[in-house]
């Protein structure tokens, strides 16, 4: 069964589509739960996680790397929550955070600005100008976030399996599309795709555990064989090895760990 990620701009009815898809397929529907999970596991105040995730990193933050640590925690929590399939996730960048897993159906819901403005005016009881500014600011922030962390434009339709222009369809139509697509063979879990998901979850967990040592750490996992790549020096590599020895006792699924310093980082590394 599938993992469905629904990406949307604010007030694009994406949340409604996600909830109805989850209800129809009897899947779990998660969004904020990822933040709660990450806060709980990594002992970070929820409000700090929300701010770190919501706002695009500034140049200083990218250099300092603080925000990148929160992203690593978020990704680890997300992978943990969706690992068991049968889940609809509507939140930040699921299509990027869960990249490489074949049974993830990546959907984007788009809506015309005029309709979104009307929705905001109705819900927030503000005038048209304020509503428009609010939406455009939110869109810009989300775009900056994705571009600065992943070099990808969330508006690029090649990142998704399906893009639905909600203004031409009803929410029910969109739900039909998503449910139909999710039922197709390409999005059924296979042994191989489940292994990929498990490896992603494991790599994310290891990364989240190591990110306090260094931001410049990337992790891959292949059937539990974990490779850690770092741009740091041998001293850092040694610290990482020591930490991983401790981690191996707590993190399930690690068969073997290698640490490579100075080697080029594979594109699919977490």
């Amino acid at each position: 069964m599938a993992i469905i990620t629904i990406s949307r701009g604010s007030y694009s009815k994406g949340k409604e589509v996600a909830e109805r898809v989850a209800a129809r397929l009897e899947y779990r529907c998660i969004s904020r739960e990822v933040i709660l999970e990450a806060s709980g596991i990594y002992h970070i105040p929820e409000i700090r996680m929300v701010k770190a995730i919501h706002d695009a990193p500034s140049i200083l933050e990218r250099l300092g790397g603080g925000k990148l640590a929160y992203i690593a925690y978020y990704k680890s929590a997300l992978a943990r929550l969706v690992r068991e399939d049968n889940v609809v996730y509507h939140g930040l960048a699921g299509h990027l955070l869960l990249k490489g897993v074949p049974h993830v159906l990546k959907v984007r819901i788009i809506a015309d600005l005029a309709d979104r403005v009307l929705s905001v005016m109705k819900e927030e009881k503000i005038n048209e100008q304020d509503a428009r500014s609010m939406i455009l600011k939110d869109d810009q922030e989300r775009r900056k976030w994705t571009q600065s962390l992943y070099g990808a434009d969330p508006w690029d339709s090649s990142l998704y399996d399906l893009v639905i222009h909600i203004d031409r369809f009803t929410v029910s139509d969109a739900v039909d599309f998503v449910c139909d697509a999710a039922g197709r063979d390409q999005f059924k879990t296979t042994a191989e795709s489940r292994q990929k998901m498990d490896d992603l979850a494991l790599a994310s967990q290891v990364k989240a555990a190591l990110v306090s040592l260094s931001q410049e750490v990337a992790v891959t996992s292949d059937y539990g064989n974990v490779l850690v790549f770092t741009r740091g020096d041998d001293r850092l590599a040694r610290k990482i090895r020591e930490k991983i020895k401790v981690l191996s006792r707590d993190i399930e699924g690690i068969n073997n760990v290698e640490v490579h310093s100075g080697a080029s980082i594979p594109p699919d590394a977490v």
Partner: protein, 274 residues
């Protein structure tokens, strides 16, 4: 029954899907083969019409004036075919100029990038990295073309009702999705939407006729009433308006022609320096 317009980042993908969809739905397929008739009607080389759809004007290639003329002929030829229902259209950039017609389902199909890279690498004898760069250049060229030709970015998903990526969803599934979507009531032609299509077709017919003498003219139609906008110097205004009315008024379906002439500021400034 609706008109389905398919756009893709790779012409062959769009063609394959369009032909398959037409077969499954029992619709007519309108593609680049229809350029032969357009070439015949307007007495231009068919190869030039193909070229106009693939390339932007350049110093060594087609001039901008000629390019715009060919695009006008292609638009007219395409719109005249879309007046009938039950059509699947691809390869004629219709997604960029058939706007505001509710019984048109506009779908963008994205090829599997990994497969494309493999294809390019093997057909051009390139490394995967070079093939990827070539693919990116093609994508940007397509975007530039659509912006220059019709002022729209064809990669922007908001111009479509649906975007389907073939990375995970295969061609047959994509056709099934289109078939199911086309059956929705909102894509059934209504009097109003049919009128919109007829207006677009009429405007394109008039524009094609005006291209020779008035290449910059913009034409809109509303149930037989034409509104033509053009630029001219003050002293030419009346003469130009009269000429446009004569040319456009003779076209079947045109009841009345209104000409709006905007002062050509640039030419006026240029002449004032003489």
């Amino acid at each position: 029954m609706p008109v389905i317009i398919i756009s893709s980042d790779f012409h062959q993908t769009a063609q394959a899907i369009a032909q398959s969809a037409a077969g499954v739905l029992g619709y007519d397929h309108v593609g680049r083969e229809s350029l032969a008739k357009a070439a015949d009607r307007y007495k231009v080389p068919e190869a030039k019409l193909h070229q106009a759809l693939d390339q932007t004007p350049s110093f060594v290639g087609m001039t901008s004036k000629l390019w715009k003329r060919y695009l006008a002929y292609i638009q007219e030829a395409t719109l005249s075919q879309l007046l009938r229902d039950n059509v699947v259209c691809q390869g004629l950039a219709a997604h960029l100029y058939v706007l505001g017609v509710s019984h048109v389902l506009r779908v963008r199909i994205l090829s599997d990038p990994e497969k494309r890279v493999e294809q390019l690498a093997s057909s051009h004898g390139l490394s995967p990295e070079k093939a990827k760069k070539l693919l990116e250049r093609e994508k940007q060229a397509g975007r530039r073309w659509s912006m220059e030709a019709f002022g729209l970015d064809e990669t922007d998903p908001s111009h479509y009702d649906l975007v389907i990526s073939l990375s995970q969803i295969d061609q047959d599934e994509a056709v099934k999705i289109m078939k199911e979507t086309a059956a929705y009531a909102r894509f059934k032609p209504m009097t109003y939407s049919v009128n919109c299509m007829e207006d677009l077709a009429l405007a394109s017919r008039v524009k094609a006729v005006l291209m020779d003498r008035f290449p910059g003219a913009r034409v809109r139609a509303n149930r037989g009433t034409l509104i033509v906008e053009t630029v001219a110097l003050k002293r030419e205004k009346e003469k130009k308006a009269k000429a446009i009315k004569e040319l456009a008024g003779n076209i079947p379906g045109v009841d009345y022609v209104e000409v709006h002439v905007v002062n050509d500021i640039l030419r006026q400034a240029a002449e004032s320096f003489r």
